[in-house]
């Protein structure tokens, strides 16, 4: 079967690869690029664990062909921060115990990051709308909402200081 060449910018780095058209974006990121932070929970678009940002929009990567990301920009959890330099969203999830097993977490983080970029002062309804389609089986969600609120607070503090 024929492969086609795509060029995708992922976390700021441009990659050119030959892929089968049927290759899912989730598998492209995880196995072609070894960015295993994006997780696959259901592979039919329900759980949201595989959410990344595609041209800045939260997107379920299991519902996207790698071909569809050709020429586009993808951001995954690996772009947010490092253990010694956490993104405010990561810091907030840590403080508020917003994760237990960590499997849904990258998807939650990316949805929440999209939200705060568009709406730095979200109310609870806006947070619920942004992450309400993502499943978490461990936490009961409450601490995740608290974490997003805390992240907004942390970012406000940083921007006020600046």
């Amino acid at each position: 079967m024929t492969t086609q060449t795509i060029a995708v910018t992922v976390n700021g780095v441009r990659y050119e690869r030959s892929v089968e058209p049927r290759l899912l974006l989730s598998d492209f990121l995880r196995h072609e690029l070894s960015l295993t932070g994006t997780h696959v929970g259901c592979e039919h678009g329900i759980c949201g664990a595989c959410t990344v940002l595609l041209d800045g929009l939260a997107t379920r990567s299991c519902l996207c062909l790698a071909m569809q990301a050709d020429g586009a920009s993808v951001e995954t959890v690996e772009s947010l921060g490092r253990v010694d330099a956490l993104h405010p969203m990561q810091q907030a999830f840590w403080e508020k115990h917003g994760l237990q097993c960590g499997f849904c977490t990258p998807g939650m983080l990316m949805c929440a990051v999209e939200l705060l970029r568009a709406n730095p002062n979200p109310d609870r309804d806006a947070i619920v709308e942004a992450i309400g389609g993502n499943l978490c089986r461990c936490t009961g969600y409450q601490n995740i909402i608290a974490a997003v609120e805390r992240a907004a607070e942390l970012q406000r503090t940083v921007s006020e200081a600046a």
């Binding site: 997780h39 959890v77 840590w94 995740i144």
Partner: protein, 823 residues
């Protein structure tokens, strides 16, 4: 005191660390040690593991519920470019035997079916290929011919089946796997003398854990050494994993099991035998590492962990003073096609079957039936969450029939604070408790009286609001006896459920703790760090945690039955004691002081009462590692600074031979009170939450924040069980909920906005620091609490809830019928 007197005496407590101490770390809400790497996408889950030259497997699954396999044609599949091997069950059976089974007698099971399929989704053939994509293409090219057999879906029909309707004819002429009656205390006399008997038929259908990550394994076989290495996301890889060596036909020292962090388990990854034996078999056959990861369909249809699936006929006897005295249950449990854990789920339930109440006699008739469905396994509660449902529903039924107050009736029937340790009729012990305090805290937190007033106002407005209550037990730290004590013949009558831990202090004074149990979303690294920091008086930042594989580790049972924190605490206290002693010996030489005059303080060892006379742990460790000749000659003082300790169950006894006393098998007893406030839309049958209070008593809390996480997460699962979740099989045995569009789990929209968690701490007299397990959390109490709330809301209509899940359709149907009856 309980009325059971003829059992063995209670063993003395081996508690070394008493509760109520001034503690620096234990009891604090420190941020989790596990989180930074998980938050940055650096967590290494099973599908993140790639080995050189690795192949990928995909499984062809039966489309029939019960059939003989007549033929399997793999020619076209094997010819597909990129396919390395296509194997049937018969092929694999040449080198791999039946799977481990913990029931006695066992029910034979294979990782790929041989000769007969017994449920939709059962593995029929396997493809190993260069990619999962190609492997799945090859599945489409395999042709299987089936010869249908009668399908057993209704458990009440399955018990009567004969001939071809029997799933395992080699085991016996019926589908009844076990049928046994257990009587504890004077049941018949209590029922004969009862002033009132309340009767209910209750239905708890199967749901499942649904962790976001499925089960997977990456296996390699090194043919030179004849040795397997299996990376697996199993919870009890260390306790029972070695039994896979029997299936693989190798001695147990020829398999090394490597724990991998898991994305959720809730019991469902307890063993993972099917996936792991399959991956290992394939690795050996293909001569290359093989990865097999269940996709979601694989997991839903053919996991090893559907939940309890029960029909109860329950009777509760009360005396003339409205005290509950006797409980009789007849239960039919639909175990699906295989019988992995026997009726361990019912043994588990017997640990707390009377709930928090002074019921003095119990009669349980258990029938376990096999049907053409996926097998049961472990799911958060392991069967005792169902017992909680039953006893609380019976309590609510009694309250309703007798016209009593649901709060005061419970309070009156509680085991009292002064009664502990309290033996229940089955022989298990409740170590400590203060149920009135938990109830009072829940009433206060909820503002119960306030909500009753609001309810009255809402009723006038035509709104249906209800306040529910459930007061439930949460046993923790199982004894191994529960796995076999209900069998007619014990089989492998194991009695150990240990937990080992080892500690190394390096020459620069930093500490590595090696655990012998995995991470799945519990917080083992945080627990170990906090407890060890407390024990050795060091900074948590100086501790790192590692996980041992089976080649290098100690005995360990793993997380399950809310046991891990209690057990690792015991192991750490033991190991810390050994290391403390060695630190004092070496420091004693360095400080020219007697070890008896030394103490640990703030990362140092120093002379008591002499603030300047001290050495840092780093200095002592360096000395211990490299300066043996600077210390006196003594064969008992060796170089290095490390300790290993294996902790056994702190309080357990054997069952009596006749099983009239099951012994102490699950005594570290937590308790909870859940009080939801719901609104029912009587037009649509939908239920929404207006408030939710959950008060938990898990003894001394190590980290209140993480415990609250389990309470909330468990409550969410309990809400799922109560309102949304079921594995539905149709009359042909087809699973209708075989994807996440049909199997419905609650999202955050469906859950209470704020599950308000309260804590009461009644320490255990038997565990270190008085810690009790709490990981099973809210799922143990939420389902009956929600039933109670819905019935309270619909009291004007007289609707009763006896079956889960209470979907909108089911509830609206009950409401419609009640409205028609009233009209």
């Amino acid at each position: 005191m309980s009325t059971i007197t003829k059992s063995a005496p209670i063993p003395p407590s081996r508690q070394r660390e008493k509760p109520g101490q001034q503690l620096k770390w234990i009891g604090k809400n420190i941020k989790r040690v596990e989180d930074p790497r998980l938050l940055t996408g650096q967590g290494r889950y099973i599908d993140d593991i790639d080995l050189p030259n690795m192949l990928h497997a995909a499984v062809l699954r039966s489309t029939r519920a019960h059939a003989r396999i007549k033929s399997i044609d793999v020619t076209a599949a094997a010819a597909l470019p990129g396919v390395v091997k296509v194997l049937t069950g018969a092929d694999i059976a040449r080198t791999t035997g039946p799977l481990p089974c913990f029931s006695n007698p066992p029910v034979e099971q294979r990782c790929v079916a041989v000769g007969r399929v017994r449920h939709v989704g059962e593995a029929v053939a396997v493809v190993v290929a260069e990619s999962r994509y190609i492997a799945e293409d090859a599945l489409d090219l395999i042709a299987v011919e089936y010869e249908d057999l009668p399908v057993m879906v209704d458990p009440e029909e399955a018990v009567k089946a004969t001939g071809d309707g029997v799933l395992h004819p080699e085991r016996g002429p019926t589908n009844i796997a076990i049928q046994r009656r257990f009587t504890f205390g004077p049941v018949d006399a209590d029922f004969a003398a009862a002033a009132r008997i309340v009767r209910r038929k209750l239905r708890w259908p199967r749901s499942g854990a649904q962790p976001l990550e499925t089960v997977g394994a990456v296996a390699e076989y090194e043919s030179g050494a004849g040795k397997f290495t299996i990376h697996m996301n199993s919870s009890m890889y260390n306790y029972v994993g070695w039994t896979m060596a029997l299936s693989l036909g190798v001695p147990a020292h020829k398999i090394n099991l490597v724990p991998v962090i898991a994305g959720g388990s809730f019991g469902s990854k307890l063993f993972t035998h099917k996936v792991c034996v399959l991956a290992a078999s394939l690795a050996r056959i293909c001569g290359r590492p093989v990865k097999y990861i269940e996709d979601r369909i694989d997991n839903l249809t053919a996991c090893d962990n559907h939940g309890s699936d029960r029909i109860y006929d329950a009777e509760l006897a009360l005396d003339a003073d409205n005290r509950m005295i006797g409980l009789r249950c007849k239960v039919l449990d639909d175990y699906g096609a295989y019988f992995q854990y026997g009726v361990g789920h019912h043994g588990n339930a017997l640990s707390q079957i009377v709930g928090p109440y002074r019921i003095r006699s119990v009669d349980l008739q258990v029938t376990a039936v096999l049907t053409n469905k996926c097998q049961q396994g472990a799911y958060r509660g392991f069967g005792s969450e169902v017992a909680n449902f039953v006893i609380e529903r019976m309590v609510d039924a009694a309250v309703d029939e007798l016209g009593l107050d649901s709060v005061e009736f419970r309070r009156m029937n509680f085991i009292r604070r002064e009664d502990f340790p309290y033996k229940i009729p089955t022989g298990n012990l409740y170590d400590s408790g203060n149920y009135a305090a938990v109830l009072d805290e829940a009433l206060r937190l909820l503002d119960y009286e306030g909500w009753r007033k609001k309810q009255a106002e809402y009723r006038k407005q035509g709104r249906y609001i209800g306040i529910g209550i459930a007061t439930c037990q949460e046993r923790s730290v199982f004894s191994a006896t529960e796995f076999w004590m209900l069998n007619e013949k014990a089989g492998f009558a194991l009695t150990s459920s240990p937990e080992g831990v080892s500690i190394k202090i390096d020459p620069l004074g930093k500490i590595v703790v090696s655990l012998n149990a995995p991470f799945w979303g519990n917080s083992p690294e945080t627990m170990a760090t906090m407890i060890l920091a407390e024990q050795l008086k060091v900074d948590p930042a100086d501790i790192s945690v590692a996980y041992s594989d089976t080649d290098h580790g100690l005995a360990g049972t793993g997380p399950g039955g809310s046991r891990y924190t209690v057990m690792v605490a015991g192991a750490l206290v033991g190991a810390a004691g050994i290391i403390r002693e060695k630190l004092f010996r070496v420091a004693g030489h360095m400080l020219e002081a007697s070890p008896g005059d030394l103490e640990l303080r703030d990362g140092k060892v120093g002379v008591k009462g002499a603030p300047g006379l001290e050495k840092t742990i780093a200095e002592i460790a360096m000395h211990a590692h490299f300066f043996r000749l600077s210390m006196p000659d003594d064969p008992t003082l060796t170089s290095g600074m490390d300790a290993a300790y294996t902790y056994d169950h702190p309080l357990t006894t054997l069952p009596s031979d006749d099983r009239s006393d099951l012994g102490i098998f699950y005594p570290i007893m937590g308790h909870m009170c859940h009080m939801p406030v719901v609104e029912v839309d009587v037009g649509t049958g939908q239920v929404s939450f207006l408030d939710y209070v959950a008060v938990h008593d898990c003894g001394t809390l190590v980290n209140p924040m993480t415990l609250a996480g389990h309470v909330r997460g468990g409550t969410a699962q309990g809400i799922g069980t109560a309102l949304y979740e079921q594995y539905y099989y149709d009359a042909d045995g087809q699973l209708l909920t075989a994807n996440y569009a049909d199997y419905l789990m609650p999202t955050l929209h469906e859950l209470p906005e704020n599950v308000r968690v309260g804590h009461v701490e009644t320490p255990s007299p038997y565990t270190e620091y008085g810690i009790k397990g709490g990981g099973e959390g809210g799922r143990m109490g939420a389902p009956p609490a929600i039933c109670s709330a819905i019935e309270d809301a619909l009291r004007p209509l007289g609707v009763k809830v006896d079956a889960l899940p209470i979907t909108p359709r089911r509830l609206r149907t009950l409401i419609r019928e009640a409205q028609a009856a009233v009209a």
